[in-house]
């Protein structure tokens, strides 16, 4: 899946910071996060609950609610990967409405909660389609049937209410809903967490097929790193509101460089391949109101160095695979030293 020449950038997020509340009480849930989403790519975002991954996604899609607020940073959308960019953070509500679903769709964790309980399934598709396309009611309804068919839901279900569907069907229906206007980007926030493992695999496989068919890019948020390894092209791992590791899926799985990524990988069974010994990460996610000094992961880190408590490591820029860890820097330093030594 790794491409020779990187595809053009669709979404460019720069130094995005999201806070809850303001003034002295403000809690920083996302802290200076930068990443790019390329055309047709699946970017996985992994982390425990409270790592800021969901907050990041609602901010990127401008769906955040008070008291969450974007403190600084930029989110630029390049339609079709073109050079010209639309500043999403400066867009007016009307401009955003035009982009929504046409270019940028979302799938939420709980389909039960995301579907309007008192509206027929089809009507919720029709609403979205007719908000963006000049089509008749009939046409929109048959389009809804088509979309359901695409995710393997019998078309007669179009007139069902959400509570009349099974959990797996509902989740697939929300994915079909996201495809309604053929967007370029779909942000999925834990779309498979609420369904069982069998359904999870079905959904992942269908998603891959649909991606090949339509060529959209996906930002896939989950706490399940081994799932991402199956699915994603690149993975970014978040901890306490910051990216601690970013790299290709296979590289992160084979060679996780941040102790936290290692812990995350070892706490889920792989979907494929031999069983590993499962280990959890000791301790609990940090309290964002009182983050430890230095590296936020340092109190839970099995490989902690003395200087971890005082120096906050930064994610190296412009590398294929990098981690925000002091160990990493010393490892890099070591290779540099080695190469220097060799060149001498």
């Amino acid at each position: 899946m790794i491409k020779e020449t990187p595809s053009p950038v669709l979404l460019d997020v720069g130094e995005l910071t999201v806070e809850y509340g303001s003034g002295e009480d403000a809690v920083r849930a996302v802290d200076g996060v930068s990443f790019q989403l390329r055309r047709g790519e699946i970017l996985g975002v992994a982390g425990e609950s409270g790592s800021g991954k969901s907050t990041l996604m609602t901010a990127v899609t401008r769906l955040q609610r008070p008291p969450a607020r974007i403190a600084s940073g930029s989110v630029t959308y390049h339609p079709g990967g073109s050079g010209s960019g639309i500043d999403l953070l400066a867009s007016t509500p009307a401009e955003l409405r035009e982009l929504r679903w046409e270019s940028l769709a979302v799938v939420f964790q709980s389909a039960m909660a995301a579907l309007n309980p008192v509206m027929r399934l089809g009507a919720q598709f029709v609403d979205a389609i007719r908000a963006h396309r000049r089509v008749g009611r009939k046409e929109a309804w048959s389009r809804a049937e088509e979309l359901l068919d695409l995710v393997g839901i019998p078309t007669n279900r179009v007139r069902s209410y959400p509570h009349e569907l099974s959990g797996g069907m509902r989740q697939r229906a929300t994915i079909a809903l996201a495809l309604a206007c053929e967007p370029e980007i779909i942000v999925m926030d834990e779309p498979t967490t609420a369904v069982d493992v069998v359904m999870q695999r079905q959904i992942v496989h269908r998603l891959m097929r649909l991606r090949r068919q339509f060529g959209f890019a996906i930002v896939f948020v989950t706490h399940d790193l081994s799932l991402l390894v199956e699915l994603a092209d690149r993975i970014m791992v978040m901890y306490a509101g910051r990216i601690v590791e970013l790299g290709s899926a296979s590289a992160i799985y084979r060679d996780p460089r941040h102790p936290y990524s290692q812990g995350l990988r070892d706490s889920f069974p792989p979907l494929h391949g031999p069983l590993r010994e499962l280990r959890g990460i000791p301790g609990s996610p940090p309290d964002l109101r009182a983050l430890p000094t230095g590296c936020a992961f340092q109190p839970r880190c099995p490989k902690r160095l003395p200087e971890c408590a005082s120096t906050r490591p930064e994610l190296p820029l412009l590398v294929e695979h990098g981690a925000a860890c002091l160990l990493q820097r010393s490892a890099d330093q070591a290779t540099v030293d080695e190469s220097e030594a060799v060149s001498r």
């Binding site: 509340g21 303001s22 003034g23 009480d25 008070p66 008291p67």
Partner: protein
Amino acid sequence: MRPDWLGALCRIVWPRNRKVAVGLVILLVLVAVAVVGPVLISMLLGQHAGELHAGGSLEPPSGRHWLGTTTAGEDVLAQLVTGTRTSLLVGLTGGAISTGLAVLLGVISGYSTGKTGAALTAFVNIFLVIPGLPLLIIIASYTQGRGGWIMVAVIIGLTSWPGGARVKRAQTLSLRNRDFVQAARYAGESKVRTVLFELVPHLAPLIASTFLFAVVSSIAAEAGLTFIGAGNPTTISWGTMIFWAQTQGALLSGAWWWFVPPGLCIALVGTAAGLINFGVDELSDPRLRGRRAGGRRKARQVPAAVVEAA
């Protein structure tokens, strides 16, 4: 979360939520008036609630009669203060009976399964759809004012429980299948013990809020009842004050000082309860609060608005 006793105490004594604080202050002031008010008025102003011809007939407010006088020359302020005592007593008694019945019927109908549960549920639902005030009026007029304010309070309590019972039933239903209740059941705890020690503590905030509103609606019901002449017109309460004001033509003589204060007092109690409930809801569900930065500043306007309206 470790209980921080000092902090918790401070929060109870002076809640951080402004709405709760304002509501509590209003209630405390009214309770204080009910307890020491009559004595204070007679000591400082030399006025007594029952004293006829303490002043001229229908005197407007003055230095001697701060809230004027009635047609019989009674001091309105002295009546208001004495009425506060009666009305609060009726409110507390009626509220306690109503809340007790609501908890009993709501929890049992929500917790028991099978025939008892179904029968009690039907019982609660039926009384929910039968209008309470007409029923209250009928019963009160059969008793003909016998038994004074206690009788009135008892009747109010007996007819006003269905709304509270419904809320309790719904909450019990949702708690019944929670892990901690299930665990107690599987551990072989008796039904009574499970309900008393596992369920009721979780219902406590709800019970408190029902009680608050039961007190308020009992006060309002007493006022309504006496206003239409189905209560006991010889006791002095906010309701009887308005009753006499209307029957003695205070309206047509422009004696606003007679009927405006008792009505405002009733509204004040209700507002206090509403503010407390609103504030507690906001504390337990921050989503209701809206934007924090603006919310806090705006909340300061609430007492001002209430005072101005008064």
